[in-house]
Symmetry: C2
Subunit: 333 residues, 2 copies
């Protein structure tokens, strides 16, 4: 993972500095609320994908041109986090209280809206750093398509919480919309910044989609068997919320009607720690974890193949993207 680690560190610093400079205004409290989660950290996975893809395909010049777009996708991601935290009534994120916990729901809604607008503001600035007008417009339009998908995916996710007849196909569609589409956007924007042709843009989009869905499946797995001291997330959060994750859906489909009834009584807001732990055990025993990990690894391998097929302008970026596709499924947090 050495190339990935090196690039990731450099890009994180670059993006953080860029955002600190760009996200300024008044009233102060609105900007504080908007920056709260960004400042609390995060993997900066999406800007890394924009910048590394641009660099792999077009070298350091493309990388420089892609910087505003990389910042834009990170801002977009943080907008979705602030609004999701309100919708999910989550109290903590990245080890700090969520925005609505600190400033209340109205200011949190507004902080998310401001970041939404800033994502477009930053992306629009790509036209000033050398991206031709037609490509800059295309970037903005692709960004828009992604946000529509994210919103649709988030709605699907919310609707699924109340349902039990969720097929794996529906789950994968939801995950693509909610999580995969923004990562797909990131690699597409990187490729567009490098002036890549449509075929390469599509292929790198496919890579992003695969990595994004694999990433989410791994998140689902860590939510059930991950060590909360390592992941930093409350144990059994998804089960407590009856979230329809892949391990759960797979295992549930293997249960008899009676077992299904019992399983449903073990999860949700009223369940005790012991019941949740029993539900997690059932998921593992019925193959939910191994099936999900197997699928995530398959997606990851297909993503690696795509990167391997690329003619690189920069070998380190290419290696980092290969490593990243492996990292998303092998990580422990």
């Amino acid at each position: 993972m050495e190339h990935l680690t090196r690039l990731s560190k450099r890009y994180s610093m670059l993006i953080d500095e860029y955002l600190r400079e760009k996200l300024r205004g008044e009233p102060e409290v609105l900007y504080e609320a908007s920056l709260h989660i960004i400042k609390a950290g995060g993997k900066r996975l999406r800007p890394l994908l924009v910048l590394a893809t641009a660099r792999m395909l077009g070298g350091v010049e493309a990388e420089a041109r892609a910087l505003p777009l990389a910042a834009a996708v990170e801002v977009l991601h943080n907008f979705t986090l602030i609004h999701d935290d309100i919708m999910d009534q989550d109290d903590f994120r990245r080890g700090v209280p969520t925005v609505h916990k600190v400033w209340g729901v109205p200011m949190a809604i507004l902080a998310g809206d401001l970041l939404f607008a800033y994502a477009y503001k930053l992306a629009g600035e790509a036209a000033d750093s050398g991206l031709p007008h037609a490509e800059a417009l295309r970037a903005l339009r692709e960004m828009t398509e992604a946000i529509v998908r994210i919103s649709e995916g988030q709605a699907m996710d919310m609707l699924m919480e109340a349902k039990w007849d969720v097929g794996i196909h529906d789950y994968l569609k939801m995950v693509y919309l909610k999580t995969g589409s923004l990562i797909e956007l990131s690699t597409r924007l990187g490729a567009i910044s490098a002036g890549a042709g449509n075929e390469v843009v599509s292929l790198m989009g496919e890579y992003g989609k695969l990595v994004g869905v694999a990433f989410q499946i791994k998140d689902d797995i860590l939510g059930i068997i991950g060590d909360p001291r390592v992941t930093g997330k409350p144990v059994y959060n998804d089960l407590r919320r009856a979230k329809k994750t892949l391990p759960l859906l797979y295992a549930y489909s293997k249960l008899s009607e009676e077992e299904k009834r019992e399983f449903r009584s073990l999860i949700g807001g009223e369940a005790t720690e012991e019941e949740l732990s029993r539900a997690a055990k059932i998921i593992e025993e019925r193959g939910g974890i191994s099936y999900s990990l197997g699928l995530a690894r398959e997606l990851s391998e297909r993503a690696v193949e795509i990167v391997k097929s690329m003619e690189p302008a920069d070998v380190e970026a290419k290696k980092a993207l290969e490593e990243l596709a492996v990292y998303v499924v092998e990580r422990e947090k």
Copy 2:
């Protein structure tokens, strides 16, 4: 008002049809929630301004090119309404229950976010109906600047509710940001669609700003002396919420320290109907209404002068824009 009425009717039908066709997708409930307030009606003031400005400056061809942008600003406006209603905990809008009242806060946040994205989607489509790439990109960037301003203005407004030392200058700045900037955007986009030069774009932007601020001041006035059976809004809503409106701020500045103390005790969430009515009377007696109406008329007159100075490609649209600047301050609802 005959030209205004004629254009307004035609444009409303045009926009409604356009939006019905464009705002489609899944999950159904998300799109239903997003369309709820749009379907409930509204003045369609902002698309009217886009289309009439485009037509005045560039005739029917410019008007046709401007349609996606006109639809975009209406969608943007409705996004702000959905989120504002959550923030203000309003139960009704346009005679129907607000989105969060029907579908809950999470779905309402999401419905707003979806409309936000659709505003960009529609605006991006202006490039497909003949607007050159550079201008389409400019339109998207101006839209973004407006949304940043709206968010900042909404935050200022929220912060002002808890404050009493609000100067008229601060109030006017807030109203420009929160309300004026989107109307300014509308006329600017209309001018850009017509291929107008920078000077004309700026002048028409100034017209929009003046009309927007005058519109809001008139709203403030109607909130105090308007007939709720005509306005359709609950009586003394702003006073109950201790909103810092222009009539209130002006009258308050004329009170002695003791009168100020008394006045503050008459408004807010705990006040009785009788106390609110007494506060309204004080505002009127201390010149709050006549001062505000005077200022709104002054702004309206300046807006009329700007339109009069324009070389029109279409005389009816010009007349309608003159009438509109008068209408916003003379309306009773």
